[in-house]
C-alpha cells in the first residue's frame, strides 16, 4: 500500500465522509482515491476550483456534521492558511494533509522536502494553537490519520498531517489489522440543546459541536466572539477567547503528543528527526552503533505541540544532539528552545530535493565530532 493510500484508508476508518480538494503532486493520489472510495461509504468528493475554496468547503461540511478532509502540497497549503485560521478561530474540526515537496513556491514538484514545519505551526496569522502530526511509514500514516480525526473532534481544531513526498509515494508491506480496535471519537450532542453555548469551555477546553440543521441556531465567525458565537470588541472576552484557544491544546499537551524512542537511553549521540528522514537516521544509527558509538533516537510524531516534556527528560543523558531534517533547519529551533545548554544542538540539513542517505548522516556526524564531543 502507498502512503497516500494509507491516509485515505485511515480517514475512511475514522469516519471521514467529505473530501474537497484541488489535486497537486505529490498528494494527488489522496484526491483520486477519495473520489473512488467515498461514494461507496455514502460520502461526498468534490474537486474545487482551488485550495482556498477546498478549505472553505471542508469547514462548511464539518459544521454540517461530517468529518471532512483536504489534501495538498506546499503551494496549496499556503493558499489554505487563511481558512485554516478561520477553522482555528471558529473551532471547526477538520483535517488538512500537506504532502511536502520542495519549495518555496512551486519549487520542485516531484521532489521531497520538510520545509513546511514552521508554516504548519504559524502559517496563519494571529495567536492560535494547532496540532501537527508527521508519520514516518505507510503503516503509521494510517494510524496517524485516524488520530488526526480523533484529536480534531476532541479539541475542535484543524489538525495537519505533515507528510513528505517520500512517505506519500512509498509503497510498503502493511498489515492494518495489527492495530486491532482503534477508538474512534464521534461528536456528542448534548441533551440540553436549549441553552447551548457553542464557545463555552465545557470539556477539554471546548463545547461539544452541534451540527447545523439539528435544531440549534448559533453564529460562526472569524471575528472575536462571545460564548454564543456573536462578534464583540470586548477586550476581556477577546483575552479569554485567545487564551482558551491556545490553552485547549497547550494544556492538554500530554494527551496529544506522540513520539517514538529507539536505541540507547544514554550515550554519545541523540538524533532527533521526523517523517521520512527518521528512516535514514535509523539506518545511520545502525552504522554508528557498529563503530562503537552509543546512539539514541527521539522521533516526535506530534510535531506541534512539540513533546518538550519528554525531550527534557532524555536529552541530558547524551553528549551531543543532532536534529536531522530535509530543510535548512526548522524543528532545530524548537529543539534548541528545549535544550538550553549552548552548543549542544547541531543541525544536519539537506534542502536540494534529494532524500538523505544514511551514509551522509554518518559522515556529517563524524565530521562534527572529529575534535571530540
Amino acid at each position: 500500500m502507498q502512503g497516500n493510500e494509507a491516509v485515505v484508508e485511515g480517514a475512511i476508518r475514522a469516519g471521514m465522509r467529505f473530501y474537497a480538494g484541488y489535486p497537486i503532486t505529490p498528494s494527488t493520489e489522496i484526491a483520486e482515491l477519495c473520489a473512488e472510495k467515498l461514494p461507496f461509504v455514502g460520502g461526498k468528493f468534490i474537486q474545487m476550483e482551488d485550495e482556498i475554496a477546498s478549505m472553505a468547503a471542508i469547514i462548511g461540511a464539518s459544521l454540517a456534521g461530517l468529518k471532512a478532509m483536504t489534501a495538498t502540497s506546499g503551494p496549496g497549503f499556503s493558499l489554505m492558511q487563511e481558512n485554516i485560521g478561520f477553522a482555528a478561530m471558529a473551532e471547526v474540526p477538520c483535517v488538512v494533509v500537506d504532502v511536502q515537496r520542495m519549495g518555496p513556491s512551486t519549487g520542485m514538484p516531484t521532489s521531497p522536502a520538510q520545509g513546511d514545519v514552521m508554516q504548519s505551526r504559524w502559517g496563519t496569522h494571529g495567536d492560535h494553537s494547532i496540532i501537527v502530526l508527521s508519520p514516518s511509514s505507510v503503516k503509521e500514516a494510517y494510524y496517524v490519520t485516524i488520530q488526526a480525526f480523533n484529536l480534531s473532534e476532541k479539541y475542535r481544531t484543524p489538525v495537519v498531517i505533515l507528510m513528505d513526498e517520500v512517505i506519500g509515494h512509498l509503497r510498503e508491506t502493511v498489515n492494518l489489522d495489527e492495530y486491532g480496535d482503534i477508538e474512534i471519537i464521534e461528536r456528542k450532542i448534548p441533551e440540553d440543546i436549549e441553552n447551548y453555548l457553542p464557545y463555552k469551555d465545557i470539556e477539554n477546553g471546548v463545547a461539544p459541536l452541534i451540527p447545523f440543521g439539528k435544531g440549534v441556531r448559533y453564529h460562526v465567525t472569524g471575528l472575536v466572539h462571545n460564548e454564543k458565537g456573536l462578534p464583540t470588541n470586548d477586550t476581556k472576552i477577546a483575552e479569554r477567547l485567545i487564551k482558551r484557544l491556545v490553552d485547549k491544546i497547550e494544556k492538554n499537551k500530554e494527551d496529544i503528543v506522540m513520539y517514538k524512542e529507539k536505541g540507547e537511553k544514554e550515550g554519545d549521540i541523540l538524533f532527533i528527526s521526523f517523517g521520512s528522514t527518521s528512516r535514514a537516521v535509523e539506518a545511520a544509527e545502525e552504522e554508528l552503533k557498529k563503530e562503537g558509538f552509543k546512539v539514541g533516537i527521539f522521533r516526535p510524531i506530534t510535531i506541534w505541540p512539540f513533546p518538550d516534556t519528554r525531550l527534557r527528560k532524555i536529552y541530558p543523558k547524551f553528549r551531543k544532539i543532532f536534529v536531522v531534517e530535509m530543510n535548512r533547519g526548522q524543528l532545530y529551533y524548537e529543539v534548541d528552545r528545549v535544550v538550553k545548554r549552548e552548543g549542544e544542538v547541531e543541525n544536519i540539513n539537506k534542502a536540494n530535493g534529494e532524500f538523505f542517505t544514511p551514509c551522509e548522516i554518518v559522515e556529517k556526524v563524524k565530521e562534527r565530532i572529529k575534535n571530540g564531543f
Binding site: V166, L170, R171, R279
Partner: protein, 185 residues
C-alpha cells in the same frame, strides 16, 4: 537477513513505476517484505523515470535503493546515470538499443526488450512487463507464479492476455545459460 535492491530506469511513459509496484507485490505474494519507491520528473512522458524495489526477509528500515543488486536500464541515459551505483556482484540488464561499456566491472546482459514488446507481443507499451519476465527468469527474486498473479492484478481489464504473453516472452528472453546467475541466487 537477506535483502535485494532493484532499480528500474528508463523514460517516463515506459511503465516502470507500475513494473516496480508489480515486482514488490509479487514479492509480498512470495511471503517476503518489500518496499517500492519512485522518482520522476514533472512531465507525464519523456522525462527520466526511476522505480526502486527492495525485497527482504525482514523489516526494511531505509526505504530507498543505495547500491542496486539489479539494474534494469531501458534507455542509454538510465544506463549512464545508474551503472556506477550497482554492486560489483550485481547485474545490469539493458535493452539492446543501449550502448554499453566494453569493460564493465559489473556483469551486463543485453536483451531486445523494446523490440520484443513491439514486434513479438505487438504493443510497445508492454516493454515493462517483458522486462519483469526477463528479471524474474534471470534472478529468481520472485517466483514466476507470484509475478503472473501480480501482473494480472494490476494491468487494465481487457489487456490480461496481452500482458500474459509479454511476461512469457520475457521469461523466454531471460533463459540464458549462465553460471554467474546461479552464483547470485
Amino acid at each position: 537477513m537477506r535483502s535485494l535492491e532493484i532499480r528500474l530506469g528508463g523514460s517516463g511513459g515506459q511503465g516502470l513505476i507500475l513494473a516496480g509496484i508489480i515486482l514488490a507485490e509479487a514479492a509480498i505474494l512470495d511471503g517476503k517484505v518489500s518496499v517500492q519507491s519512485q522518482s520522476y520528473g514533472p512531465e507525464a512522458r519523456g522525462g527520466s523515470s526511476k522505480a526502486e524495489v527492495i525485497i527482504s526477509d525482514g523489516p526494511i528500515v531505509y526505504p530507498k535503493v543505495l547500491k542496486p543488486d539489479v539494474l534494469l536500464a531501458l534507455t542509454s541515459s538510465a544506463y549512464k546515470s545508474y551503472k556506477e551505483d550497482v554492486k560489483e556482484t550485481g547485474l545490469i540488464i539493458v535493452d539492446d538499443s543501449v550502448e554499453v561499456e566494453k569493460e564493465s566491472k559489473v556483469k551486463t546482459l543485453k536483451f531486445p526488450i523494446l523490440r520484443t514488446a513491439q514486434e513479438v507481443v505487438g504493443k510497445a507499451y508492454v516493454a515493462n512487463i517483458v522486462s519483469l519476465g526477463v528479471i524474474a527468469e534471470l534472478t529468481k527474486i520472485v517466483s514466476e507464479e507470484s509475478l503472473e498473479k501480480a501482473v494480472l492484478k494490476r494491468v487494465p481489464a481487457g489487456t490480461e492476455e496481452l500482458n500474459r504473453k509479454a511476461l512469457e516472452e520475457g521469461f523466454k528472453l531471460g533463459k540464458v545459460e549462465d553460471k554467474w546467475v546461479e552464483q547470485m541466487i
